[in-house]
Each structure stands twice: as structure tokens, then as C-alpha cells.
């Protein structure tokens, strides 16, 4: 066992990675500094429970509502998996936003961490995008009309509004095409972009370290 680990470590540098990622020096910080890890943990939970949901969920107007009904009532622990995904989504928006506020009010976005801040803001927008696209998927009255309103708001943008609305909906109407593309955005496109952005964000946090709590004279 020890030999096997040594063999792997010599080739992969596992101990080095551990030291760089988890044993790095940090200034004296407080509980507000845990929100990044909390967001990462919740995001992973969303990924895991989301993958589980795709086992039964079907993104079609004929089946979306019934397949979710089946998840909730026909499958063992379906209520738990969907419940975690549902409540985790709201919680993730909250933790990401408070994380953003902490960085803002501590001035932690300043040199040399401007780009970490930019990737963080992108991640916040991606989180909202995940929330917005995921909201349509149950295909119930609430999600249908929320998406009607949401896409209509996007449509009020001057000049390009109508075009943006038609791109979001995949046509002029909120239809099966909308549901399919929201699903695709929700499980493929946004998560792929988010994973790349999280990777960059974490690389920068590890490379640059985190800033200390600003003192009174700063």
C-alpha cells in the first residue's frame, strides 16, 4: 500500500499537489473566508445530484412534468436527490453572492487579484444562468411563466432585444425548442464553461494566495 502510493507519488507528485493546494500559507482570516469552499462544495453537489436527475428526467413538453413526477413519487429517494438539487441551487446563489460581497468589502479584488475577481464575477453570472435555465425544466405553470417573463425582459434590450429573445427561446414562442435548449445550456454548455472558469479561479487563488483582512489604516 505504502509502496504503491510512493510509486504513484513519484510520478504524479501527489504530495506536492497536496502541499501547494491545501498546505499553502494563508493570513489570519475569519469565517467569511469559507464561502468560496462552501460554494465549490455546493456546486459539486449540484453536479452530482444533477447527473442523477438526468437518469429519469426527459426534456420534452410531453414528458418533462411526468418524468419529474415519477422522480418525486415513483423512484426511491427521488425526493431527496431532487430536493438537494432544488434547495442547493438557491443556497449556491446565496453563498456565491455573499462570497462576492466579502471580496468586495475587504477590497480583496485589488492588485494582483483583479483577474481572480473577473473570473469570480463570471462565475456569479454563470450561477444565475444555471438558476434561470434550470427553473424552466420542471415545465410546470410557474416555470413556464417565469421563463416567459425572463425572456421577455431580455427582449426589452434596445435594438438587439428581439433577436436575443428569439435566440433564448429558439424562435418567437416559448416552446419545446426552448425547453430542449435550456436543458442543453443547463447540463452541458454552462457547466462546461463554469468548470473551466472554476479551474482558472482556483489556480489564481493558489498562485496568488489570498489577501489578509484590511486593517484600519488601509
Amino acid at each position: 500500500m505504502e509502496n504503491a502510493f510512493k510509486w504513484l507519488d513519484e510520478r504524479l507528485g501527489l504530495n506536492e499537489i497536496y502541499a501547494e493546494v491545501l498546505d499553502r500559507q494563508v493570513p489570519k482570516v475569519n469565517w467569511w473566508f469559507t464561502l468560496g469552499s462552501a460554494s465549490l462544495f455546493l456546486a459539486i453537489m449540484q453536479g452530482v445530484t444533477g447527473i442523477f436527475l438526468t437518469i429519469y428526467y426527459v426534456p420534452s413538453p410531453d414528458h418533462a412534468y411526468d418524468s419529474i413526477n415519477y422522480i418525486m413519487n415513483g423512484v426511491q429517494f427521488g425526493w431527496l436527490i431532487r430536493g438537494i438539487h432544488h434547495w442547493g441551487a438557491s443556497l449556491l446563489v446565496v453563498t456565491v453572492f455573499i462570497h462576492l460581497l466579502r471580496v468586495f468589502f475587504y477590497g480583496a479584488y485589488k492588485y494582483p487579484r483583479e483577474f481572480t475577481w473577473v473570473t469570480g464575477v463570471v462565475l456569479f453570472l454563470l450561477t444565475l444562468g444555471m438558476g434561470f435555465t434550470g427553473y424552466l425544466l420542471p415545465w410546470n405553470q410557474r416555470s413556464f411563466w417565469a421563463t416567459m417573463v425572463g425572456t421577455e425582459i431580455a427582449g426589452t434590450a434596445p435594438g438587439v432585444g428581439g433577436f436575443i429573445l428569439r435566440v433564448l427561446r429558439g424562435g418567437t414562442d416559448l416552446s419545446a425548442v426552448t425547453l430542449a435548449r435550456f436543458f442543453s445550456m443547463h447540463i452541458w454548455i454552462l457547466p462546461a464553461v463554469a468548470m473551466l472558469t472554476v479551474g482558472t479561479h482556483l489556480y489564481l487563488v493558489i498562485r496568488l494566495g489570498i489577501s489578509h483582512i484590511p486593517g484600519e489604516d488601509e
Binding site: 453537489m45 442523477f52 411526468d66 418524468s67 415519477y70 426511491q76 429517494f77 427521488g78 436527490i81
Partner: protein, 164 residues
């Protein structure tokens, strides 16, 4: 800073490791076990069926020639109500002896059909053949065609559908 570690004293790092391992295990189990159950639960449900299906007037079946009778049953698969079709070959050998064979090949569940000129049930998938009594003539099927129980009431033939 000097590190003091002994059997009674546990340092901060060791404490955090223990707590994380402990909580991580609990969370893994709380999510992992329901996750497995969630995935396999449709496999644990077997719908039971026990019905007598009316197959029409006995007199409508010719003597000596296997004749196909089709019927459908609706069933819930997950969230979808789907109809499943069944095929039964009814063989009337004489006024009393009636046999009803399932047309499901006992090899891998393709559907067999009766070929009068070859006097055999042929399966198109792997070239299997069964004789008029359902016995395997050649091919990979491990056992003869399945038979349904039959009964006759007021001149009507009934087939006993049992599943699960």
C-alpha cells in the same frame, strides 16, 4: 512553534483531519446509499399480472394448423403508459386438445412465426426452429416454446396471462 503530539494531545491539524474524515464519511453515506437506491429502484419493481384473456370463439381456430392470436396489454413504464403486444399460437389438434404457445423465442426473445410449408416455427434472429409441438428442432434455444394455460367457457377460448 514546536509541535507537541502525544497520545492525549491532539494538534489542530490532526483534529481537523479527523473531523473532515468523519463528516465526509457521513455525507458520503447519506448521499451515496440513497443514490444507489435511486438508480436501481425501477429494477426492484415487478408488475404482477394474472388475467384470463378471451381469445375468441374456439370454432374460429382451424384444426391442425397453429393460428396466431394477438392481444395487447397496457402497462405503466415509469411515467409512460405503453401498450405491449402479445402473440399466441393456438393449436387445435382435435375437439379436446388445445395448446397455446407464446411466440416469444426462448433464446433471446425475438418473435417466432409459423411456416406452414416447413411445418415449423422459425425465428428470424438466430435461425432457430421449433416443431408444431414447440420442441426445438435446431438452433440455439435452450428449451421449447412456452405454453399458456387455456380454458373454454361457453365456446370461447381463454388464455391465462401470468407475469411477475
Amino acid at each position: 512553534m514546536s509541535k507537541k503530539t502525544s497520545a492525549t494531545h491532539i494538534d489542530r491539524r490532526g483534529f481537523v483531519k479527523i473531523v473532515i474524515t468523519f463528516l465526509g464519511t457521513i455525507m458520503g453515506v447519506v448521499i451515496g446509499l440513497p443514490g444507489i437506491s435511486y438508480f436501481i429502484s425501477p429494477a426492484l419493481k415487478a408488475e404482477k399480472k394474472d388475467d384470463w384473456i378471451p381469445a375468441g370463439e374456439l370454432e374460429s381456430y382451424p384444426l391442425g394448423t397453429p393460428t396466431l392470436f394477438n392481444f395487447t396489454q397496457t402497462k405503466m413504464n415509469g411515467w409512460e403508459r405503453s401498450s405491449q403486444s402479445y402473440g399466441v399460437y393456438v393449436l387445435r389438434e382435435d375437439e379436446k386438445k388445445i395448446t397455446a404457445f407464446s411466440n416469444v423465442c426462448t433464446h433471446l426473445s425475438c418473435r417466432v412465426s409459423w411456416k406452414e410449408d416447413e411445418k415449423a416455427y422459425l425465428c428470424p434472429c438466430h435461425d432457430a426452429a421449433f416443431d408444431i409441438q414447440g420442441e426445438v428442432i435446431h438452433g440455439p434455444p435452450p428449451h421449447p416454446l412456452d405454453e399458456y394455460q387455456t380454458k373454454i367457457e361457453d365456446g370461447t377460448l381463454y388464455i391465462h396471462l401470468q407475469e411477475g
